[in-house]
């Protein structure tokens, strides 16, 4: 077992009150698992990813534990997290395109970064060159400024830097969304390659594009408005989802070969709730066609089949009767 998150609750402190961005989430990621994390914008997926590595104000830890390789992470303590960051847990941030210092050459910037972690740059250089080769970047990128690189190159460079110290857990936040389809495929496949070569033990891939996750991830976790909705192996999420939100979300995606003239797809009516004063109970009930009285209580996130977790009273109810 690599990562275990228990009842993690994160609020954003604002002048108008707390934004309930993440409400008692519990899940685990096994060794070598690439877990996809998907949902609409504002559902808390980035909050979840960032809080594991860099929990800083206005983010506030309300409760919960994060256990990585049998060791509890002091995620609320910026100072004590330092030994873990980069070595144990590493993040490729959403703004990776702009994550590099524009006034430093890539090589110098990497050296400074390593020095801040008390790692010798010279000794790491062969590994760095090997990794550059793996992501198909020429060695001379180390002598280049970020402005000289294309978006896909920068994204791959940030991936190399983030995984340089072989972290246990890599969090990749929207690494493919700003790229063209061709580089998107290359970057996504490189991430799998990193895992296969054990450069990182397991990974969380945050994206809004479920079709990318179908290509690369082992399991998918669907979030809605700060709550977990469903987690299952990729094939089950895509082909046999149980949560009404997952079903509706998948129904909005045009499968290849579907044309408007032949089959009209439908969106999900309504909007996600504001999380400043979130609705009580299941947060999807306003848009859910199956909502009933029981949905006024928060549904628990329960394993209904092996590795298939779901938070929906309808599904839990039928399961209980069976």
């Amino acid at each position: 077992m690599t990562l275990q998150v228990e009842n993690l609750t994160i609020y954003y402190q604002t002048l108008r009150g707390d934004v309930h961005a993440l409400e008692s989430t519990s899940f685990r990621i096994e060794d070598h698992e690439i877990m996809g994390l998907a949902g609409e914008s504002g559902c808390g997926k980035t909050t979840l990813g960032t809080s594991l590595a860099l929990l800083k104000p206005p983010m506030k830890l309300i409760g919960g534990h994060v256990i990585l390789d049998n060791e509890e992470l002091p995620i609320a303590d910026m100072e004590r997290m330092n030994p873990f960051r980069f070595k144990k847990i590493s993040i490729v941030p959403q703004y990776a395109m702009n994550a590099m210092n524009p006034t430093r050459k890539i090589g110098k910037m990497t050296a400074e970064l390593l020095r801040s972690r008390n790692v010798d740059f010279k000794a790491t250089l062969p590994i760095l060159k090997e990794r550059l080769d793996l992501v198909k970047l020429p060695e001379n990128v180390l002598e280049m400024y970020p402005i000289e690189m294309s978006g896909g190159m920068k994204q791959r460079m940030v991936m190399v830097i983030s995984t340089l110290l072989n972290p246990c857990l890599l969090i990749a936040d929207e690494i493919t969304s700003a790229l063209d389809v061709a580089s998107q495929k290359a970057v996504a496949e490189m991430l799998v390659e990193f895992r296969n070569r054990e450069l990182c033990n397991s990974a969380i891939v945050i994206t809004h594009d479920i079709s990318i996750l179908y290509q690369i991830s082992d399991s998918i976790l669907i979030m809605y408005a700060g709550q977990l909705a469903e987690k299952a192996p990729t094939d089950i999420i895509i082909h046999a989802p149980r949560h009404p939100y997952t079903k509706m979300l998948l129904a909005t995606l045009p499968e290849a070969g579907v044309k408007y003239a032949e089959k009209q797809l439908t969106g999900i009516p309504g909007n996600p709730p504001l999380l400043l004063n979130p609705p009580i109970g299941c947060r999807f009930k306003e848009r859910c066609p199956l909502a009933f009285d029981k949905c006024m209580d928060v549904p628990p996130f329960i394993e209904i089949e092996k590795n298939h977790f779901i938070a929906c009273w309808k599904e839990l109810g039928t399961n209980a009767q069976a």
């Binding site: 063209d180 061709a182 045009p254 070969g257 969106g267």
Partner: protein
């Protein structure tokens, strides 16, 4: 309806503008009545530049644009304003299309002041409500609000409603759904199809091939400012003939099929002497000597054109 005849856009780049950059290079295609045509390409392929030239937001370096048989590529003043009654655009980012300190419906007032000064308030409100209902918005819910109070999907529909106020015949939709969430983007896409049924033609600029396939009858594939393949969407998707299109379609993440194990070659071979040849030469796995001359668009089957030298002899 709209016909592009060999249009190009050349920018001067480098110190003192000494070099030329061909953002769009000799592009021709046409869009018929009640037709949605997708313009597909990677970033930097010049697809937005073409949209902006049609909207006359930037000038055309060479070539001409015909709208209903009239050359509009050097319209100015009153004639251009008349043109805008027929042709309008909607752009990628709905959030930055509005001024955040004013209410969102200010965009409608501009249209009234410019194009319908003779209408009284009652007639105008009727027209506005009608237009909002066409795009599936309830006027009571969305009027009199600031941009931050509306969702991205609502703001994008607002912009489409603004375009519809003018009884337009042609809409340039430049990446209008790439910023929207999956749950709302399909509604905006369906809206385009409904508007087509009411007699609108649309140029749908996108980088997402599966959405292009869903909505459009014909597609144009652009690479580095040149058309590499065009034809009916069906034929392009089921039988892509240009190596670039084949690579694009293989790289699209799909829900019914995992990616093939073919690697994408991202690195361009450095071959400066080839600048006059095929635009895709540097990345093409099938490049050969014949590619040194620029291929022309050839019809390989009915309504399916490919610019690749491999098809020259056939």
């Amino acid at each position: 309806m709209l016909k592009l005849n060999g249009i190009s856009k050349v920018y001067s780049v480098g110190a003192f503008g000494g070099k030329e950059l061909h953002a769009v290079n000799d592009v021709s295609f046409d869009i018929g009545d009640r037709e949605i045509v997708s313009l597909i390409g990677e970033s930097g392929s010049g697809k937005s530049t073409i949209g902006k030239m049609i909207l006359r937001l930037i000038s055309v370096s060479s070539g001409s644009i015909f709208f209903d048989g009239v050359n509009v590529s050097n319209y100015k003043g009153a004639a251009l304003k008349e043109y805008y009654r027929n042709v309008q655009g909607v752009f990628q980012d709905p959030f930055s299309s509005y001024n955040p300190i004013f209410k969102a419906d200010r965009i409608f007032m501009f249209v009234k002041d410019e194009f319908f000064p003779q209408l009284n308030a009652l007639e105008w409100n009727k027209k506005l409500n009608n237009s909002l209902e066409v795009v599936g918005l309830n006027p009571e819910h969305v009027l009199n609000k600031y941009p931050h109070q509306l969702s991205g999907g609502q703001l994008q529909r607002f912009l489409i409603a603004r375009a519809l106020l003018l009884d337009i015949k042609f809409l340039v939709a430049d990446e209008i759904i790439s910023m929207l969430d999956a749950s709302t983007r399909i509604d905006v896409l369906n809206l385009l199809a409904e508007l087509r049924a009411r007699g609108l033609s649309v140029l749908f600029i996108t980088h997402d091939l599966s959405l292009a396939h869903y909505i459009s009858e014909r597609a144009v594939i652009l690479y580095r400012g040149c058309v590499v393949e065009r034809g009916t969407t069906e034929k392009i998707f089921n039988n892509p003939q240009h190596p670039y299109t084949q690579m694009l379609i293989a790289a699209v993440p799909r829900l019914d099929k995992k990616w093939d194990k073919v690697e994408v070659d991202l690195n361009e071979k450095k071959l400066p002497e080839m600048t006059t040849g095929c635009v895709y030469y540097a990345r093409c796995p099938l490049a050969e000597k014949a590619c040194a001359t620029k291929p022309v668009l050839l019809e390989t089957e009915s309504d399916h054109f490919v610019a690749c030298s491999r098809y020259l002899n056939k």
